[in-house]
């Protein structure tokens, strides 16, 4: 068997192109996938809530937010939010109330038990974040968030110009 006929048997032997290793969007993408997977794997026992933790925190901070505003805040079409709220309402996290002054609008709230369970979930979220940023000093984290914010500003400019 000539060397050219041998078959690669181990991922460790795969050559990663420099272009990818040095690409900030590519690294962010890989990191996001790994971070999200580890989060979902670790945080169990909260039904569908972990994946909507950010959204639930926004509801907590904006009690009675209209569905359309909530959808915009998490960059979803308002039709995509409907099944999510149905699930979270069925699981007891959220409730929707009609608005007296504008009968088109339904306002979203946390239930009392949703509020309480969100505290417990938040502790798990913080623990996960601690794992993710282990070894980074407060200055490192601040630097990282600052650089990510600058990248985010570029993307907002881009969408602002093209929208």
């Amino acid at each position: 068997m000539s060397p050219a006929e041998e078959v690669m048997r181990d991922v460790a032997d795969v050559v990663m192109p420099d272009l990818l290793s040095g690409s900030i969007p590519y690294q962010i993408r890989l990191l996001q996938i790994a971070s999200y997977k580890s989060f979902e794997q670790r945080v169990t026992g909260y039904g569908s809530a972990p994946r909507y933790f950010g959204m639930l925190k926004i509801v907590e901070a904006n009690p009675g937010i209209p569905q359309a505003r909530l959808a915009e805040a998490i960059y979803l079409d308002r039709s995509s939010l409907v099944p999510i709220l149905e699930t979270l309402t069925r699981e007891g996290w959220t409730l929707r109330r009609k608005t007296a002054t504008d009968k088109r609008v339904r306002r979203v709230f946390l239930t009392d038990t949703g509020q309480a369970r969100l505290q417990a979930l938040e502790a798990e979220v913080r623990a996960h974040e601690t794992m993710v940023v282990k070894g980074l000093t407060a200055a490192d984290k601040s630097t990282l968030l600052g650089l990510l914010a600058r990248v985010d500003a570029n993307l907002r400019d881009y969408f602002g110009e093209t929208a």
Copy 2:
């Protein structure tokens, strides 16, 4: 109408919780979504290839890589890779050849035209990256990649310990 009855009309009025603004995994997640969306919106005329650019670069750097190794390199199940390769092969980017020494294995290559078109696509990818990191110095980019690599190391440790 009492103030409490007024309805929020603008996303700008939504309060973003500090926990989210200061969360590195959450910011990475939002950034990834925005970055990927801007990339797909900008780079057109290359069929399905833009979303698999990273994979195509890995094939380029590892000509003849077995499907199973390629799937591992991009963190996909090997069954998920099959329809992707069927599409890219149908569009003329890739080809698969059986291996003489191990008849189970199919090795993946770029076609000549795939190789040539990948050069043109790469120019678009670089232009997109330039937009994303606009305003960052070489030192900033290096710092950002270094901090992301440290986060990535934490996640690899985590998966290494739990797998």
